[in-house]
């Protein structure tokens, strides 16, 4: 308990003092995770929507594969990226291993199935009436598809927040492909592992608190945007 209290104190101290190394680690964490999230959204949202809206042979196998990949172990994702980027791997010539780019690639691999799978679920949960109403009012296929996405937007935002939660707290993959190199690829989660291994438990807890504060702030921002965007979203009233 003492360690935890000490960690809390140290955490607020670290935030207050704006320690240069902590600032660097925090910024890199944000840069890697947010870049991965944007790329995962660019891949996952259109793919999820297409899977939900189109009927083709093998659709259920693809959906099942994506749902399975939503639970992909981070270490396995890291290992796959490692094998591709290692000097003897197919992409070895680009010398990306142990760089923030490699960390982004690994995190995209983890986040994209989540965004894709949950987007597909959100779109599939809508009724046929959404399309029918749009079509009978003269919407083109593209306009009707955009309307469907608009109707599913709460689910898509949930997909993005879930994916962000997954990547920002992720340690196994970034450790493998980033190498936890000081001032270069060290992020908040790998710092926690390092400090724990060195026996600096209170520092590890302090960094953990910074991670939670960042996650809280990002979710807060998303929620406030949600409130502004979803002015007409109904909340179930329980009396």
């Amino acid at each position: 308990m003492e360690i935890i209290i000490q960690g809390l104190k140290e955490g607020f101290q670290l935030i207050w003092q704006m320690d240069a190394e902590i600032v660097d680690v925090t910024l890199l964490s944000l840069q890697v995770s947010l870049t991965a999230l944007v790329l995962a959204a660019l891949i996952g949202i259109p793919l999820g929507a297409a899977l939900a809206l189109r009927n083709f042979r093998g659709k259920h196998i693809i959906l099942n594969t994506i749902y399975t990949l939503m639970g992909l172990p981070p270490v396995l994702a890291g290992l796959l990226v490692y094998l591709f980027l290692t000097s003897r791997g197919p992409l070895g010539q680009y010398e990306l291993l142990f760089t923030p780019t490699a960390m982004v690639i690994a995190q995209v691999l983890l986040a994209a199935p989540i965004v894709c799978g949950l987007t597909a679920r959100a779109v599939m949960a809508l009724s046929q009436e959404v399309y029918d109403t749009a079509a009978t009012l003269g919407a083109s296929r593209r306009q009707a598809s955009l309307t469907i996405m608009r109707e599913a937007r709460m689910g898509i935002v949930a997909a993005l927040t879930t994916a962000l939660g997954r990547v920002i707290a992720e340690v196994g993959a970034v450790m493998l492909v980033g190498g936890n190199i000081r001032w270069h690829t060290r992020v908040l989660t790998t710092s926690i592992v390092l400090e724990t291994r060195m026996g600096n438990f209170s520092t590890a807890i302090a960094i953990g608190i910074i991670l939670l504060v960042i996650s809280f702030a990002i979710n807060m921002l998303i929620l406030s945007l949600e409130k502004r965007t979803f002015r007409y979203e109904n909340t179930i009233q329980i009396t």
Binding site: S127, D132, L137, G138, E151
Partner: protein, 244 residues
């Protein structure tokens, strides 16, 4: 345009089950044409095929003078001359204004024209005060009025009504019926209405078709079908014997 819809040997199946089989059907322009029949008789399937929302398995469909090929561009062109009010009056997330403006926005009509047309229609259906209200918090009757305004906003040549008053109270239903008659008389819009409400059909319809088990049993001028049904199944339905 004498006959906006001509159907020839239209068949629709769900799996092995044939749910609709229409040998010949021509719907006259500018009239209120009512499709009457018990639940599961194929009324809504027929309406959805004519509204180009459901592809028929066999037969030839002619809509607004064109043989339907189900090609993307043709579908859009034809659909933009029709609109529909469904039983549940599905509302998009957003305001009443957003919903009524939807079809006009899809047609890229200027915001100024949209504002004035939405205002005019909401005034007509008595919903002007709800312009900025959340469309999903409206009552059943209010939704139906907004759905009607939304469908009329695009000046359709054909208006489909799928059980337009089935979920609302008598007073709201009477108001909706008043608007339906007004639209038909003032704008000569062809109205194709599906209902299992005999009284409503009798009050509104110029022509009625009775459908059962996916087949047309009888059709003709509204009043005569009620007073002198030619088929025993129609007579039984009118006596309330097969309403299930």
């Amino acid at each position: 345009m004498k006959t906006p819809f001509k159907l020839h040997n239209i068949v629709k199946r769900y799996g092995e089950r044939e749910v609709l089989h229409i040998d010949q059907l021509s719907i006259p322009a500018g009239k209120i044409y009512t499709i009457l029949g018990p639940n599961g008789s194929g009324k809504s399937t027929l309406l959805r095929i004519m509204a180009l929302l459901l592809v028929n398995d066999e037969g030839q469909l002619e809509v607004l003078g064109e043989k339907v090929t189900w090609e993307k561009r043709q579908l859009l062109k034809l659909r933009r001359q029709m609109s529909m009010v469904t039983q549940t009056s599905f509302m998009f997330q957003g305001s009443v204004y957003y919903n009524v403006a939807y079809g006009m926005r899809a047609r890229k009509i200027s915001s100024r024209k949209i504002r004035s047309r939405v205002g005019e229609l909401l005034e007509m259906v008595g919903m002007a005060a709800y312009r900025d209200a959340d469309a999903r918090t409206l009552s059943g009757g209010e939704r139906q009025k907004v759905a009607l305004a939304r469908a009329l906003a695009v000046n359709p040549r054909v208006l489909f009504l799928d059980e337009p008053t089935s979920n609302i109270d008598v007073a709201s239903a009477a108001e909706i019926e008043k608007y339906i008659r007004h639209i038909n008389q003032e704008q000569r819009t062809t109205i194709i209405m599906v209902t299992h409400n005999l009284f409503q059909a009798r009050r509104l319809a110029d022509e009625i078709m009775f459908i059962s088990e996916g087949r047309i049993i009888e059709q003709g001028p509204g009043e005569s079908l009620f007073t002198q049904p030619q088929d025993e199944r129609t007579a039984a339905f009118l006596r309330g014997e097969t309403v299930y």
